[in-house]
Structure formats: structure tokens, C-alpha cells
Symmetry: C2
Subunit: 346 residues, 2 copies
Amino acid sequence: MSTSINLAVIPGDGIGQEVVAQGLKVLAAVLPQDVKLETREYDLGAQRWHRTGETLPDGELEALKDHDAILLGAIGDPSVPSGVLERGLLLKLRFAFDHYVNLRPSKLFPNTATPLAGRPEIDFVVVREGTEGPYTGNGGSLRTGTPAEVATEVSVNTAYGVERVVRDAYERAAARPRKKLTLVHKNNVLVYAGHMWKNIFDKVGREYPQVATDYLHVDAATIFFVTQPERFDVIVTDNLFGDILTDLAAAVTGGIGLAASGNINPTGAFPSMFEPVHGSAPDIAGTGKADPTATVLSVALMLRHLGYEEQAVRIEDAVAADLAERDGTFRSTDRIGDALAARVAG
Amino acid sequence: MSTSINLAVIPGDGIGQEVVAQGLKVLAAVLPQDVKLETREYDLGAQRWHRTGETLPDGELEALKDHDAILLGAIGDPSVPSGVLERGLLLKLRFAFDHYVNLRPSKLFPNTATPLAGRPEIDFVVVREGTEGPYTGNGGSLRTGTPAEVATEVSVNTAYGVERVVRDAYERAAARPRKKLTLVHKNNVLVYAGHMWKNIFDKVGREYPQVATDYLHVDAATIFFVTQPERFDVIVTDNLFGDILTDLAAAVTGGIGLAASGNINPTGAFPSMFEPVHGSAPDIAGTGKADPTATVLSVALMLRHLGYEEQAVRIEDAVAADLAERDGTFRSTDRIGDALAARVAG
Ligand SMILES: CC(C)[C@H](C(=O)O)[C@@H](O)C(=O)O
Ligand SMILES: CC(C)[C@H](C(=O)O)[C@@H](O)C(=O)O
């Protein structure tokens, strides 16, 4: 725990600006007086790309390395071809800064809407691998645009990459009361990657006899997410399955307006990056309708990562209290931010 | 429409035997007197593999070609290493018989349980590509079992393969009252395959101006499956995304006890294969707890494919009526089969 935080801020596109502003507001309110908070905003995203054609120039990538952490709003705009900003900015950061633990907690807070009947108890964490799998950009297209086109996508998986994230997941499971870890993959079809994941999962598991383990195919896992989500404690899975599962998890725990995430480099070699799971929602940008809670909860994950556990808990408690008092009355992005800032300061 | 049906039956593993028996019972009851039904049972699955080490020998693959259709129960047993029967039998059949349309209807019948609050109206069909994508078995493992292992999985996609399944999906959408087709992929990350899918989807769409189209990333699609499933009519998607989405679809429409599927070769060059979406459920095999409805509905898909539309509808109506009268009292696999057979016999 440092006595200063040098934070990079990438508001990005759409509602990114608005929600990040609330995240920073709550951060300023929760930090002890003697912690110096410095922020530098980076102008990256759709507008920058339209202006200069750049997504993430080397100079800015270098500069970002000097920060303690990165807070990111949202990336993506319909005016930019699909994939340009995702690959050129968001995934470039995750890969360049070796964010191999993509941490996504899912919790159904009291008094929040869930599409699930019976309001099951939901409180699990997905540890999504962040630097391998089908996300490596490996692949290509031959005879593009012709009737003879062949397009490939190569999922690249290494024992090195799988073992470190599996180990991280066991550590997290061991530290939780229920101590249960579920591996999700599709090893009956993706036999090469799937068997490697399973073998490493079993091998590392022998070092954690206190952790109960389980394996599910990804298709079966989606069933349990809606029929029996209470069975999950910690889930470890590959990059693409984690992407899919965490959106579904967000949907059953009150929506992506509440889902936080951390792109973590546990070694500290590079700054970790915190962002809401939701996208830039261009349809509601500027309307004040965006819920900044996911960003605020991402700030809590950031504080925990930087060693400010007490402040992280204060934010999470404030969010729980705020959600408990919601009665359906509309509150703007700004007002929700104000309310949370007041609570954490209190 | 032929006046005889020469059916191959692969009961397979676990509850496969039990549910297939009910499917055949209902089939026999619904067919007109003058249609000659011949069946030949194939002993394939876990027991065969344990006995002989074979999954699907060439002789049997050849023999299967001579049938009008295949009815399959379920494949898979914990005593067989994951992937052996899936790749060596089930996927081998789908690939050898070029089952490029994996058809999976999802409908929430009245009086059936759904984990979703508010019981939305659900009635959509997933057209899952069945012969390409990450299911091709392309890939490998280097330095297997060592800390330096690298495992790859290659998703192979061709314009040929994508266009034919996309066209099939447009045809199905055009024939339905709502005429809406949604493409699901992840073209912001899997840019090579994703852009090819999207381009072909748009190109073929110009031939179907009456069909409204939509695109969703797979992660977002899972959200809508639980928050707004009524928005879907026909969905077309790749092999792996289709696998995941159809289990989730089954979960929200009463469970995999009801989900039917057809592995269809629309050209008729090879027999199509019909199977419940559920697995072999070894935990309940032999207990009479398996619901044969998914298999019976798969028989309806088979009859429709073979030109027996009236009989297909009769089965679907019988299932709807049976479900409407369920009151939670336990009925064995056999009794449900009897009830459905009695209904279709009229
Ligand atoms: C925007 C996209 C590239 C990203 C992903 O697929 O990882 C998003 O869906 C997420 O989950 O953070
Ligand atoms: C058993 C498995 C190979 C299969 C698949 O992944 O296609 C199953 O999950 C299905 O959906 O039919």
C-alpha cells in the first residue's frame, strides 16, 4: 500500500466518460487525506481514431506503464469497424500488460432485479484467463471476400499461461469460506486445449487439498448459471468462455450496470486495469441513464489490488446500502455517483 | 415422403436406451398403417468401446448411409476418457454425413417450469452450423504434459460452409410469421471468422428483403436469452456458440428434458440424425427418471424432415397437451412414452 496513487484514466467512448467521472468522485471521497491521488487522462477511443487513425500509439503505451493502475470506462462505437478498437486498444492493453487474471465477481445484492425466479443466492467469482485462448489474434483469412474464402481463428494455450491463472484461482478459492473451484472448458470437443487445462487443474489442485474441485463443460455451465447459480464459488476458465459466462453472470445478478472487472497482472510488472464489464452503450450516452455502479465497484477492486482493503470494503458496503434503498425512482448517473461518494465519505 | 422408413437407431449410453425406446413407441403409434417402418439397432457407445476399442468402424459408417434417417439417444460415459466417444462417434457422424444444419428449436410450452421470472414468451429456433468452426478437430499439442506445453485449437470456417447454413437459416426465417434472423458471433475479437460470417450474412440477406436481420455478439446474446428471449425468432451461429446457446436456451425453456435437435443434411446426400440435446445422464440411467420428451420431439423433427408434416405436428401437439396436464406427480420414462403414444394414436 503506497501513500500515493498515480492513476491513468481512459474514459473511452459513449457512457465511458460519464461513469468514469463517478468512479473518480467516489475514489476521491474514500481515500484517506494523506494519500496523494494523481490522475492523468488519456484520450483514446473512437474519437481519437477518427481524428488520427491511432488506437494506442507506442508513446502512450509506454507512458501508461508508469502508472500504478488504469481505470477504463468503455471502448467501442458503431462508427468504428468492429474489432478495430477492441483489438487495437482494449485487448492490446490486456496483452501488453500481461493481464492474465481477468477477475469478475458476481453477486446478487438484496433488492436488485434478477431475471431468475426464486432469487437464488449468487456470490461467485470468475477468474477468466486474459492473455491466451482464442483472443490471441492468431488466424487469418485466405481469398477474403470470395466464395472460396477460408477463415481461421487459432486458440493458443500454454502450460505456462494456464498454470499461472489456475494457481491464482486456487489461491482465491482457498481464501474464501466455501473453498470451491470449478473449471469450465469443453474438453470433450476441444481435446488439445481442454485436456491440458484439465491436467494442469488437477495437478495444481494437489497442492490445495482444502479446495473442493469440480469440472463442467461450458454448455452445461450456462445451464447451472440459471438453474443453480448458488453452486458456484470460484470459477476458472479460458478467455472466450469467461467472456461469455461473465455476461450471463452479470445478467442474472442485476445486469451489466453492476458488473465490475479487474484485468490484473498479479506480479506487478505492469499496471493492472479496472473496468466495468458493460460496453459503451452509445444509445444512452449523454442521457444520464448510465448506472455508474459497475465502475464504482471496479474502483473497489482496484483499491483492493493496491492494498487499500478497508477502502474497498467501504465502497462495496456503500453500493450494497445504495442498492438496498433503491425504489425504482430514476436517478441520473451523477446522482448515483453523488450518493455513493457521500456514503463512503461518511 | 416415402411409404417406408428405414431407420437406424443408436441408443448409445446411459438413459439413451430408455428414451429411444419411447421415441420409437411414439413413432410407431403416429405413422399411418401403410407406412412400413424398418429399424436396425447399432451397438455403438461406451460398452462397445470397452469391449472392442471401437467407436465407429468403417463398416458401420457405411451401413448407416443406407438408412433414411438416424435416431440417436445419447453418447458418453464417465468410464470413457472425455472426447473419445464425442469425437470418435457423435462428431464423426455429424462430419461424415455433412450435417451442416444443426437445428434446435426452443419453445416455452405452457405449464412447464422455467427459471425465468415473468415467464416470457419463448419460441425461437437456433440454426447451429454443424461441420466447421472449432469442432473440426484441427489443432494439436506440443510437448504434451510438460511445463512447456503448447496446445492449439483451430476454428476452420469456409465461405462455402457458412453460406449454405446462413441460406438455410434465411429460408427458415422467411417461412415463419415473424421473419426475423439474428446472427450471433464475436466479430469484434474473432475478426477473421467473424467478419466472414457477417459479410456473408449481409450478402445473402439481400436476397431476403422480407427478413429483418440483427447481429449480436455471443456474450450479449446470453444476456438477452435470460432478459428478453422473446426478441428471438431464428438465430444462426457457429458450431461452438450454437452449442453453448442451445444449452442455455434449453435451460430457460423447461430444461434439457424437452430440447430436441436435428443434425440435418438438407441435400439428402446422407441420412440426417435426430437426437435429444441432453447427454447420457449416467446418474439417473435405469431409474426411470429420464424424460423422453426431448427424444419424442426429435422424432417429430425427423418426421418433418422426411415429409411427414402432419405426423410431426401431431407429436408436437401431443407433447404440448401432455405438458399442459402435468401436475408434478412423478411419471416414469415409460409412462410418459405411453401417454404420448396414446395421444398421437388419436
Ligand atoms: C469488448 C470486448 C473485446 C470484450 C471482450 O470480449 O473481452 C468485452 O466483451 C469484455 O468482456 O470485456
Ligand atoms: C456431446 C458434445 C460433443 C455435443 C456438442 O458439443 O455438440 C453436445 O454438447 C451437443 O450439444 O450435442
